[in-house]
Amino acid sequence: MIPPGFEYYAPTSVNEATALLKQHGADAKILSGGMSLIPLMKLRLATPRYIIDINRIPDLDYIREANGFLKIGALTRESDLERSELVRSKYPILIDTSSTIADPLVRNMATVAGNLAHGDPANDHPATMLALEAQVVAVGPKGERRIPVSNFFTGILSTALSADELLTEILIPIPPAGSGGAYIKMERKVGDFATAAVAVQLTIGADGACERAGIGLTNAGPTPVRAKKAEDVLRGRKINDEVIRQAGQLASEESDPKSDLRGSAEYKRDLIRVLTARAIRRALERAGNGS
């Protein structure tokens, strides 16, 4: 399959990239990993007139902790998460997430930021970043702003980024002691999108009560879903079997999946109930282990 023709730019700075975005607006697409964009172009579902390849911009490929955040640069590949000792030891929820995305070869190109910026509710990082209460940094001609991921997904395949803004960094608040998270995905085979998946991030206080809870759902509606009622039922309580059961039930009720080849809406809602309970249990175990 041959993609349609386009004009190609390879800027070497963020400023140059945003100037090009400003010039070409909605006719331009950013190319980072290209693992969603290039297949869409080959199928001619996307026909951008201008491609702005950001892979030649230096210093956008990093994973580091600074100023209270885990910072992930726009060109960090999914496989870089798996290779990072910091992520492996302190952020296993990110390993859960990236290791279920597509396959190892695709993960060598695909970027974490692209997984968010594509705005696809079937992508895996949106749910995880919702659970982690992450923010993204958007840079445009007018400067830089931070957007909470909870306000980032505005509709089907659309985000809060304006046409002249570039997502340059993901900011994940460093979880306090007693925190743990997990992402559990049901997929039919390697490389498939989730039938459903659930991300849970918890902080358990010294008294054993849940201080903070974040729950995100994948492929459970037209946009990534934050299961707020399920979070509320966990917060302030000691998490026991009954509380977990209630949270699973609420997350299921908050989801709005569609019937498709992966299963009926009814099946998927039930799956979300079960996966939520499992992810809470795994997050609790990890909170006990200090990760």
Partner: protein, 143 residues
Amino acid sequence: MEADVEPRLLLVHCIRDTFQLTGTHIGCDTSHCGACTVLLDGRPIKSCTLFAIQAEGRAITTVEGLEQNGTLHPVQEGFCQEHGLQCGFCTPGMMLTAAAFLKENPRPTEDGIRTAISGNLCRCTGYVNIVKAIQYAAAKLAE
């Protein structure tokens, strides 16, 4: 190697048609099967889902580059010795993925090998011997 390319030219077409290196195959053309696997700066990627222009100035290894000075790469030797292929269509991609994986994981578990090749599909379903071939190569490399 050098060529002037149209921006939309995919790397796999550049390798096969422009450079006439036909060891890199086209299978699904939708980034699922891994027949078009090449190494980009040492990491396996699917060349049907990359524009050739993105590879400018970067190191690309195709299956033709595995053999060095007339000596087969241990992975190639393993595929011969353990009958790691039937029709052979997936083999170039399978071997490149395996070679890159063994470089980072010199003492792999069977699970590790199976995960590493999960983006390379063998429609003959000869996975048992492919895993054995990679284990052979790991042992050979450890010598």
